[in-house]
Symmetry: C2
């Protein structure tokens, strides 16, 4: 079944909202309520979920825990995903130290850099490897996801090598629009794009 990418991209937001409800001790939620929380219409929520089967009972709303578990399974969040980081500068170190990955099943198992001063350093529990051995290291211990935190001019070459080494998902922190084959997913962490969606509203207030 070919599910629209935009539907898939919304599901993690559903997961976040449902996790917050579990924490608040809420057991049942209507599509109305879930829609309000997420800024989409109840009809959109019902349509999105209909791709994956039948959830909730007519007029009874959704069981929060059941829906959460089902969505986590659908998204593949019920298992561990291994990641390789390339680029262990300031940003790379902040990424290694980020506490949000582990609770959600994402684990960095390789860190690579090109700088002889950084190679061999211990960063949290990782020892930084020479990026020259990237293919070798990934052949020995494969990963699912590559995280790219290198300067923009080096990013495309690093992405090509990760893809060549079998990585099928890239989290790209470099400010470039990466080119990848169709079977590879890329998401870009782009603070400027986020800022540019706010200035419209700031402008309204100023004028």
């Amino acid at each position: 079944m070919d599910i629209p990418a935009v539907v898939i991209s919304r599901l993690p937001l559903y997961v976040q909202a449902l996790e917050a409800m579990v924490q608040r001790g809420e057991h049942v939620v209507s599509s109305q309520r879930l829609g309000e929380e997420l800024g989409v219409t109840p009809a959109q929520i019902r349509k999105d979920l209909s791709y994956f089967g039948r959830f909730g009972r007519q007029g009874r709303g959704y069981n929060v825990a059941e829906l959460l578990q089902a969505l986590r399974r659908i998204l593949g969040l019920d298992r561990q995903w291994l990641m390789a980081l390339v680029g262990v500068g300031r940003l790379g170190r902040a990424i290694v130290a980020y506490e949000g990955f582990a609770p959600q099943g994402f684990r960095i198992v390789h860190a690579f850099d090109v700088d002889p001063k950084i190679i061999g350093q211990r960063v949290n529990s990782l020892v930084v490897k020479d990026v020259a051995v990237l293919e070798e290291a990934l052949a020995q211990e494969p990963v699912d996801i590559g995280i790219v935190a290198v300067p923009p001019e080096a990013a495309q070459a690093v992405i090509d090598r990760l893809v060549g080494a079998g990585v099928r998902a890239i989290l790209n922190y470099a400010p470039i629009a990466a080119r990848v084959p169709a079977w590879v997913q890329v998401r870009r962490i782009d603070p400027v794009l986020a800022l540019q969606t706010m200035t419209y509203y700031l402008k309204q207030g100023r004028e």
Copy 2:
């Protein structure tokens, strides 16, 4: 005129695509072509743009430079926006060093931290100030946007103080869902959310 937030959130992507076209020396683009570039239907593009007036001529496509300039003006990207960073740890330093802000008109003019060892340090051209003087510093030199790069347990309090000091837009790097008044915009930089939209596809390949 009340324009749907989802339309506003797409416009920076249009700007990025149009900037790439300018760089490639392309002068005219059809809604078909622009839609392909962005993964939305041509009808959606025409509808999105119709909120802001008349662009392009029937059957002639859009003038790339004109459309880009108009969208930049609409989004408020034709001026400079001042920002205050709170949290000058590894992530904060990476943010200060990020080269993508300045070319798009975003400038960090204050950096605050709570750590006596960090306060007073020079980071690029900024001297880190004590977060205790945040309100005072922002009264003297106001900013439009606050960037929050503090640990999760400190984030909400920092956001409350920024909002109290008149900041109306928050770029939040902390892994929390911030609570803000209705007149304040928040965008969260969330690598986990980005990862969670890729695992669905990774899972397909594995099974």
